[in-house]
């Protein structure tokens, strides 16, 4: 029996959206609440702290990671736009670049964490370090999740393009929406943790 998932390409008449698109936006809404709760926790901890450390983090590494993540957002949207223009080669190039930039972000983060650990600056040492590791760790897990999804679309998931190019394009769009959200979270994390 042929069981096709409905509304993966055509839009639902009631919502005017594909199911995948509404699904990813609802997922992102839940993500806003997750990070929102942690930002709220950060504010409470900071307001309650008698003093808050400044200059604990390497601003230049944080700035480099901001540039890397913004660059990856541009390559991600270009990967989707290339599919819309039926340019498979450019899509692969931009998606590969996005994966490489994401990996560079994590490598940078590894060096940052390693420097903290070597100085004994662990989450149990101060409130600031606890919230820093919690927020950046959770964000890092999101980066890792994005890399796994993108590698899937560069590998076995790419086969869908031959069978149903529109559905594949939509999947890349949803991946992009997730990726831009991860970038958006970092845009706020960087000043809050590194600069203020």
């Amino acid at each position: 029996m042929d069981m096709n998932i409905p509304y993966t390409v055509e839009e639902r008449p009631d919502t005017g959206l594909t199911n995948g698109k509404l699904g990813i936006w609802l997922f992102l809404a839940s993500e806003v609440m997750l990070f929102g709760a942690l930002f709220s926790t950060y504010i409470i901890l900071r307001m309650g702290a008698p003093e808050w450390p400044h200059g604990e983090l390497n601003v230049w590494l944080g700035m480099a990671n901001t540039f890397i993540l913004i660059g990856s957002s541009v390559t991600m949207v270009m990967a989707w736009a290339s599919l819309k223009l039926n340019d498979w080669g450019k899509h692969r190039l931009y998606l590969t670049l996005t994966v490489l930039l994401s990996a560079a972000f994590l490598v940078n983060k590894y060096f940052e964490y390693a420097a903290h650990w070597s100085h004994g600056e662990l989450p149990d040492k101060s409130t600031f370090l606890a919230i820093y590791f919690t927020l950046t760790g959770l964000h890092g897990i999101h980066i890792l999740g994005g890399i796994v999804v993108m590698l899937y679309f560069l590998g076995p998931g790419a086969a869908l393009y031959k069978k149903n190019p529109e559905q594949f394009t939509n999947r890349i769009e949803y991946t992009g929406l997730y990726w831009h959200f991860v970038d958006l979270v970092w845009i706020f994390l960087f000043p809050v943790l590194y600069l203020l």
Binding site: T15, G16, L17, K21, L22, W25, L26, A29, V32, M33, G36, A37, F39, S40, I43, I44, M47, G48, V59, M63, T66, F67, I70, G71, S73, V74, M76, V77, M78, A81, K84, L85, G176, L177, H180, F181, D183, L184, I187, F188, F190, P191, V192, L195, L196
Partner: protein
């Protein structure tokens, strides 16, 4: 979302320009930080720039500038929920649980002994 190829080509220029603008704003954020402003002003400036950058990512890269009403509907609920979360810290300011209570000893009673 635009689906015809001509509008996609036009959008591509916008994507690169927004990317460049995000780079510039990041540079400005760090440059302002190097001036060492007073903390309240530094927080205000950094969050204004971050909000501008976030708006660009959401409206252009995530295509929120031209989305369907169901997406906007779910986002309005999210904004309300997020605003409540951000209000939680101010609620804790009015909460005195855990604050030491100072009771002055009745001096007159003890003065005769």
């Amino acid at each position: 979302m635009h689906s015809d190829q001509e509008s996609i080509r036009k959008s591509i220029k916008t994507y690169w320009m927004v990317g460049a603008a995000l780079f510039v704003f990041t540079g400005i954020t760090v440059a302002v930080n190097q001036i060492h402003l007073a903390v309240p002003l530094a927080i205000t400036v950094a969050l204004i720039i971050a909000t501008m950058k976030g708006s660009m990512v959401a409206s252009i890269f995530m295509h929120l500038s031209h989305e369907k009403k169901w997406i906007y509907g779910s986002l309005i609920l999210t904004v309300i929920g997020f605003a409540i979360l951000m209000l939680v810290p101010s609620l804790t300011m009015g909460d005195n649980i855990g604050t030491p209570i100072h009771v002055e000893a009745p001096a007159a009673e003890h003065s005769g002994h």
